[in-house]
């Protein structure tokens, strides 16, 4: 054996920083305090703090496993056809004119992340010129931290924040947002959260969306929706898709990265869909052909299990109704926790206003706690939340809500 003495080609590689939200969960796991609470990672939990397999999913999984006529062949590159069309329909609506015009297509992807990445790769290659890596991409301040990484790795060199969260008034910084839209270079890409903004839980109202759309249309800005919580936010699929449907009705060509991880509880099956709304069928066909090439060099064939479950559910009226019911169960529990947390903080006389807790929507709430107060919560009270003050409402239960409210009260009164 001849020993190879030369240096490793990887000897200069630095350690990547850990992902904050996963580190938080790891720390939580190691904590032995009996009253510890995890308000970090974004997954649904029941009132017993357990993950929840949706009853409709259990039912459909059994149907699939017992169906011996199903084979295990590779899915087409763009994914399971009945899943793609049903997924796009759930976003755009039963009576979508765009779908009737045959100018809507879907690309099955590995969760919401996969959909974002395929969309980003497509835009980098074919939008605003060919291979124009200089097109500015705007993401909200703050946003889901992976947005930056996805667009950067897709090749975009200029990723910028747009004003979104107003910390002082604990709400949407609409004027800052609109101002950024007016000043952005034409053809810039804007990543918009369709509903249940992550991490702030603050969504524009319908009137505010109208203002946003007006400027985007006038200034030729590109709309890229991230839709990870449809149905989960308000309990209504239609309500949570209002912004997407409005923009489509205004004639925008746009992309929607859909995730079914949360609203189907299918976190480990990686079910996502990139919906493409094009000007006409001819454009759509060409766009999808390029999407196919991109998918072929990323994962080639998407996994089938999750898409089968979602496809079957969405395409069968009975199962679809059952699913909507399951989704409402989750959304209702979150709304209940919001109500109760606000009520308890008000009852405790905790300084400040807490209306934002019930005004915000979806899984997350930006409490407004500052980093020092967050540190207090974690170290002294063993209540784990993100340094930004973001909490996952699903981490609250009837069993721990008093303790959490009390902890917040102490954090606000003892720590400045």
């Amino acid at each position: 054996m001849i020993p190879c003495i030369a240096m490793s080609i990887f000897s200069e590689v630095p350690q990547a920083p850990p992902v904050a939200v996963f580190k938080l969960t790891a720390d939580f796991r190691e904590d032995s305090h009996p009253q510890k609470v995890n308000l970090g990672v974004g997954a649904y939990r029941t009132d017993d703090s357990q993950p929840w397999v949706l009853p409709v999913v259990k039912k459909v999984e059994r149907l699939i496993v017992e169906d011996s006529s199903l084979n295990h062949e590779y899915l087409p590159i763009l994914g399971l056809p009945e899943f793609r069309s049903a997924a796009s329909k759930v976003a755009l609506g039963e009576d979508s004119a765009a779908i009737k015009d045959n100018r809507v297509g879907g690309v099955q992807a590995l969760g919401g992340t996969g959909a974002l990445r395929i969309g980003a790769e497509f835009l980098r290659r074919w939008y605003n010129g060919v291979n124009n890596t200089a097109t500015p991409v705007y993401v909200s301040a703050p946003t889901w931290e992976n947005h930056n990484a996805v667009f950067a790795d897709a090749g975009f060199k200029d990723i910028r924040p747009y004003h979104y969260w107003d910390a002082a008034k604990r709400g949407l910084d609409l004027s800052g947002f609109l101002d950024d839209l007016e000043k952005a270079p034409e053809h810039s890409i804007f990543v918009l959260h369709a509903c249940a903004h992550n991490p702030t839980g603050t969504d524009p109202s319908q009137d505010e969306w109208k203002k946003i759309a007006e400027i985007m249309k006038r200034r030729n800005l590109f709309v890229f929706f991230d839709s990870a919580y449809q149905g989960f936010a308000s309990g209504s699929l239609e309500k949570d898709a209002w912004a997407i449907r409005f923009f489509v009705s205004e004639g925008f060509e746009l992309l929607v990265a859909q995730s079914f991880s949360k609203n189907f509880g299918l976190y480990n099956e990686r079910v996502g869909n990139l919906t493409v709304v094009a000007r006409d069928n001819e454009n759509l066909t060409r766009i999808l052909s390029q999407m196919e090439k991109i998918v072929r060099t990323t994962w080639s064939n998407p996994p089938s299990q999750g898409a089968r479950i979602v496809g079957k559910t969405l395409n069968c009226p009975e199962l679809f109704a059952e699913w909507k019911d399951n989704v409402k169960t989750m959304a209702d529990r979150v709304l209940l926790m919001r109500d109760q947390l606000k009520a308890k903080l008000q009852a405790l006389g905790t300084p400040g206003t807490w209306d934002h807790i019930t005004q915000q929507i979806g899984m997350f709430s930006f409490t407004g706690l500052n980093p020092k107060q967050v540190e207090f919560m974690i170290k002294e009270k063993h209540v784990y939340l993100m340094a930004s003050g973001r909490i996952n409402m699903c981490g609250l239960t009837t069993k721990n809500i008093d303790y959490v409210a009390q902890s917040i009260h102490e954090a606000v009164t003892k720590v400045q």
Partner: protein
């Protein structure tokens, strides 16, 4: 692409190992299995088994903790992740963008997609000789600049199906060490070619035993009939264990912007099968029995040629040696589907279809085509 046609049985359905079907039912009924987000690196049990499968349990590199494996979306996902890792981190002092050497014919699309522009092709398939031309291959690699990445197929070369012998490999690896070339080995169908699960992995094991660093893209879709579940593994062997954490953390970061995390279903099945040496042994033994019976049937039918290679090879698959026309005959006229290179899935044969398949092969050999 790095995937080829699935093996089908006479009903035109892809073969699902009965064991795989049983495992899927068990997994779906198991209440302790949690539907939560898996790690971005994939199912730990799977990557451990997959990595051992390629390197061999007694690999020094494994024992010295210089190896990591990341579950990917099929072989394509593994190659893409490997390409991204190289693009971002190969030789960090310089901004690296190649060169990468691929065999001709083959396509470099995945590397291009990862942003690597400098792609070259080394000579591989000699159309006239209808074989690999190792002399020309070595000559081309001799010209490659030091630190080039060279992509090689450990088995089932796509698209020619023509593979390198062990002697060829030894020569190539020796050259690569001398010229400081970095191996990126494709292992998409371990057990497919030569029918020997271990033989296919030999090039990987040899590189590792020579102290080389390497990347290896594995896929288990074919071996286990799991086409719908695209289970792959990107294996990385490093020179020092001190680098493991940093390099893995960067690969992890890249995964999170590609697909965030892989799906687990297929990985569970593969991990269970691989961790169950009795099951694997049982599968291999059953295949041996089928091979003997198939050879016997062909003898009784009076099929021309010598069929000893059926029992000399081992594992799930065997290379029949049938040519393209014969393979086409089998698929079009008899609905017996082989891979274009004449390999068939032995484990798809059972007592109810053995006679039909043997007859079909006999007809393919004896009909005027």
């Amino acid at each position: 692409s790095y995937s080829s046609l699935p093996c089908l049985n006479e009903e035109g359905q892809t073969f699902v190992l009965p064991l795989v079907g049983k495992l899927k039912k068990q997994i779906s009924a198991d209440p302790t299995l949690c539907p939560e987000y898996p790690s971005s690196l994939g199912l730990a049990e799977f990557t451990k088994r997959a990595t051992e499968f390629a390197l061999g349990k007694n690999s020094l590199a494994l024992m010295e903790n210089r190896v990591f494996g990341i579950q990917t979306i099929g072989c394509t996902g593994a190659v893409r992740l490997g390409a991204e890792l190289l693009k971002h981190w190969y030789n960090t002092r310089a901004a690296w963008c190649g060169p990468v050497y691929l065999s001709s014919p083959c396509d470099g699309n995945i590397f291009e997609a990862a942003g690597i522009q400098d792609i070259h092709y080394y000579f591989y398939w000699d159309a006239k000789q209808r074989d690999v031309c190792v002399e020309k291959l070595l000559a081309d690699l001799e010209q490659a600049p030091e630190q080039s990445v060279v992509v090689l197929s450990a088995s089932a070369h796509c698209p020619t199906g023509a593979d390198l012998s062990e002697q060829h490999w030894a020569l190539i690896i020796q050259l690569m060490m001398r010229r400081r070339l970095f191996p990126f080995i494709l292992l998409p169908v371990q057990g497919l070619c030569c029918g020997d699960l271990q033989r296919d992995a030999w090039p990987v094991q040899h590189c590792a035993s020579q102290g080389m660093e390497l990347l290896c893209a594995q896929s288990f879709s074919h071996c286990f009939g799991l086409y719908g579940d695209g289970v792959g593994n990107l294996l990385c062997v490093l020179k020092q264990s001190s680098l493991l954490s940093a390099v893995q953390s960067q690969a992890d970061r890249l995964v999170r912007a590609l697909w965030a995390r892989p799906s687990v279903g297929g990985a569970r099945v593969v991990a269970t099968v691989l961790s169950n040496p009795e099951e694997v042994k049982h599968i291999v033994e059953r295949c041996m029995l089928i091979r003997e019976r198939l050879r016997e049937r062909l003898r009784l039918l009076g099929s021309p040629g010598c069929w000893d290679h059926l029992i000399k090879q081992r594992g799930l698959y065997c290379c029949t040696g049938l040519n393209g026309q014969q393979v086409e005959f089998l698929s079009k006229r008899r609905h017996v589907y082989l891979l274009p290179n004449g390999c068939l899935n032995v484990s798809a044969i059972n007592s109810s279809n053995l006679d039909y398949i043997a007859e079909s092969i006999h007809l393919a050999l004896t009909s005027a085509l």
